[in-house]
């Protein structure tokens, strides 16, 4: 299934007096600033593969070498060293003629400032690539019209680019690249010149089109939010090097180094992270079968105000400390009777954006359940706040509960005794202390 559309192998690009020497010195382990006397190393040892149908995002600050990298992919810039392989042919070794052929057949491009031909109508711009490919006029206009329709510009076909707004112009740029019919599309900061609202709209449209047409897209941006939204995988560049390559979630939750960590600091995490990525194992659970007494014990051990009641790992509802105490006093043993079933739940793939509101209002941690209502995790408010507030992810791993837990363990026998004393003796038939904390992990 995963067919490779494009592969970059140890790409280097050095501008300046002595590029070859600079590359050798970089290969010998010298740094970018060490070789400054020989030239500016814009891209250093970049290797990656892009799979068919994937949106591969290259992200980095200004000057990190993104444009240089993408221009080597379709041969607009020849690499100083290394290779670019597109569908098995080596772009870097191609003659000008072969290069033109590769560009016509396999790679098209969308530009930051649209780069439309100002003296041509929208439809002629959209059909430009086909014109170069030598497609007959009637056919290319028809194909261009179909794509213009898709990007919502059908009625502007006979206008000139300067009569359109920025967003519309970039749609023409997009249409031109889509009409070309190439499998791979390169997009260099394609949405950076647009204002935020239009930009968001374009991003959504791009994802839609990509799903519909299945193109391979290599997208350049300096905006992490954009990268996270669009990317199936993201390569983070710094000073010419790819410092991390991974899925958006990997990059967010496990930044390879301080640079990436700092970079991802400002990202709007709620747009990227799903409930699954931030949820924690559900410690606060008790099986319905453990009865009121079991619930009471968990509440004491965990020093909590409420606990999730489960049955065969499925969520039944929430039991509050108040209800438990009342039940204990009344001599009730059936937990099911006091469970509040109207508890808020979220799906594992819901974005944090969508769950923040419910989480903040809920007195208990949010329950994350799958389609069969199985409790697979919980999101305590503090976790959510930490994520939004961008507290170091490692904090989450700290065993904050272990110390109190140990302490509580000492008192457990006493608590058990107290609990046993109150209800009728029959309740003990439940079968001793039930595992509580591991319940969710079963």
């Amino acid at each position: 299934m995963s067919e490779i559309a494009l592969e970059a192998r140890h790409l280097y690009k050095v501008f300046g007096k002595n590029p070859g020497q600079a590359v050798r010195r970089l290969q010998d382990g010298q740094s970018r600033s060490d070789v400054l006397d020989a030239g500016t190393a814009a891209v250093i040892d970049a290797s990656f593969t892009v799979e068919r149908g994937e949106i591969f995002v290259v992200m980095g600050l200004s000057g990190s070498g993104k444009s240089t990298l993408i221009r080597m992919l379709n041969g607009l810039l020849p690499p100083t060293a290394g290779e670019v392989i597109i569908h098995g042919s080596d772009v870097s070794a191609a003659t000008p003629r072969e290069l033109r052929e590769i560009r016509r057949r396999s790679v098209s491009m969308v530009f930051q400032h649209f780069a439309l031909l100002p003296h041509r109508t929208v439809i002629d711009n959209a059909a430009y690539a086909l014109e170069i490919q030598g497609v007959a006029k009637a056919e290319r206009l028809e194909r261009a019209r179909a794509i213009l329709d898709k990007v919502g510009l059908a009625e502007w076909a006979d206008s000139r680019p300067d009569e359109l707004s920025g967003g519309m112009r970039q749609r023409v740029g997009l249409a031109r690249a889509l009409t070309a019919g190439t499998d791979i599309m390169l997009m260099d900061e394609a949405f950076s010149a647009l204002d935020p609202l239009i930009r968001r709209e374009m991003q959504e449209q791009l994802v839609e089109l990509q799903q519909e047409l299945g193109r391979t897209i290599i997208f350049i941006t300096h905006d992490l939010n954009e990268a996270m939204f669009l990317g199936d995988r993201i390569a983070v560049m710094r000073d010419g090097r790819i410092v991390q390559l991974g899925t958006p979630e990997e990059i967010l939750t496990d930044p390879a180094n301080d640079y990436v960590a700092q970079f991802v600091q400002d990202v709007d995490r709620t747009r990227v992270l799903t409930a699954r990525t931030v949820m924690e194992p559900p410690h606060l659970t008790t099986p319905v079968s453990a009865g009121v007494r079991g619930a009471l014990r968990v509440l004491r051990e965990q020093q909590a105000r409420a606990v999730f009641a489960t049955e065969g790992r499925r969520l039944v509802g929430v039991v509050t400390d108040r209800a438990v105490i009342r039940a204990v006093k009344a001599g009730q043993t059936d937990l099911r009777a006091i469970v509040d079933q109207s508890v808020l739940t979220v799906g594992p793939d819901e974005l944090l954006t969508d769950i923040v509101e419910s989480a903040v209002e809920s007195p208990v941690p949010l329950a994350v359940v799958d389609e069969t209502r199985r409790l697979i995790g919980v999101i305590p408010r503090v976790t959510l706040l930490a994520t939004l507030g961008n507290v170091e992810p490692s904090t989450r791993e700290l065993p904050v509960v272990s110390t109190p837990l140990d302490m509580v363990a000492e008192f457990t026998p006493l608590v058990d005794a107290a609990a046993n004393a109150a209800p009728a003796a029959g309740a003990g038939a439940d079968g001793g202390p039930t595992t509580t904390t591991e319940e969710g992990a079963l």
Binding site: L76, R104, M109, F111, F114, A115, H119, R120, E131, R160
Partner: protein
């Protein structure tokens, strides 16, 4: 000792003598070439002269008025017709037509040299580096100075006039063409490359159309410089309005000088407005009907 002597003599280098030697050399060994050039130019000039002097006055006025109308509108057409009538009324019609004929030839040749040269300079930094100082030289050298070598190489008559005119008028054509093409949005040119267009197609479909306003401004400059130079060229025997002006100068004939001068101004204004009109009208026309004319290989409409 020689050097000391040379300093004692005032440290003069005989630059002028060297140039003269060079020209002597050229006439001796390149004579056939200059004869060929002279013959070609003369033939073209004769054709052009025939074109302007054979038809009756009213016919020429009508054609120029029509051209003005096409380029810009009825106001220019009326203005041009009135101006031409004025020239006829001050008895400078024949001279004016000869000047026009010479100017047209010089402009045609200067354009066919300068536009391709400008394109070449825009694409190659080396060419640009070589061409630039040569153009500086050509443009700043006082116009009269061209006349001397032109006489030596082509003897007197219209040909040295044409040659001197071309030399003098070449520079802005090259410069503005190069500037225009270099000024084309780099991303748009890159787009052409990115979609696999050949360099020739990029030149025809992207660079030339987008550089056209600048190129037209260059051609306009070439025309104006040619006109002024063609008057000066009368000093070496080129026919036209320059003759009465030179004559008026030597005999302090104010009325004659003024009449001929007015004729030059009228022609200059007509030419300037017509070419200027073509420069802007060209774009506005494409604005409305480009989609109908955008055949893949249709060269951009040049003036």
């Amino acid at each position: 000792m020689d050097i000391a002597q040379w300093f004692a003599d005032g440290a003069r280098i005989p630059l002028g003598a060297w140039i003269k030697d060079l020209i002597d050399f050229l006439t001796t060994y390149g004579g056939w070439f200059f004869d060929f050039v002279a013959a070609t130019f003369l033939a073209v000039y004769d054709a052009s002269t025939w074109l302007f002097t054979t038809p009756p006055t009213w016919a020429v006025i009508l054609v120029i008025a029509a051209l003005s109308f096409w380029a810009k509108g009825w106001k220019l057409a009326v203005g041009a017709a009135l101006g031409l009538v004025l020239i006829d009324l001050v008895a400078q019609w024949d001279n004016a037509m000869l000047t026009l004929a010479l100017t047209v030839v010089a402009v045609l040749i200067a354009t066919t040299i300068s536009v391709p040269l400008g394109i070449w300079a825009a694409r190659s930094q080396t060419v640009s580096n070589i061409v630039r100082p040569v153009l500086d030289f050509l443009q700043t050298m006082p116009a009269f100075v061209y006349l001397l070598p032109a006489i030596f190489l082509f003897s007197v008559g219209p040909v040295p006039g044409i040659v001197a005119t071309i030399m003098f008028a070449l520079a802005p054509g090259v410069r503005l063409t190069e500037l225009g093409i270099r000024g084309v949005d780099k991303e748009v040119v890159e787009a052409g490359h990115a979609f696999g267009a050949t360099p020739g197609r990029i030149l025809r479909q992207i660079q030339l159309p987008l550089a056209m306003p600048s190129i037209m401004a260059g051609i306009n400059q070439v025309i104006m410089l040619s006109l002024s130079m063609s008057v000066i060229a009368s000093m070496v025997g080129a026919p036209g309005l320059g003759r009465p002006i030179v004559q008026a100068l030597s005999s302090v004939n104010i009325p004659l000088g003024f009449e001929a001068g007015t004729a030059v101004v009228v022609i200059a204004m007509i030419l300037d407005r017509i070419t200027g009109g073509f420069g802007t009208r060209d774009r506005s026309r494409r604005r409305t009907s480009f989609s109908k004319t955008s055949e893949p290989d249709a060269a951009p409409a040049a003036a």
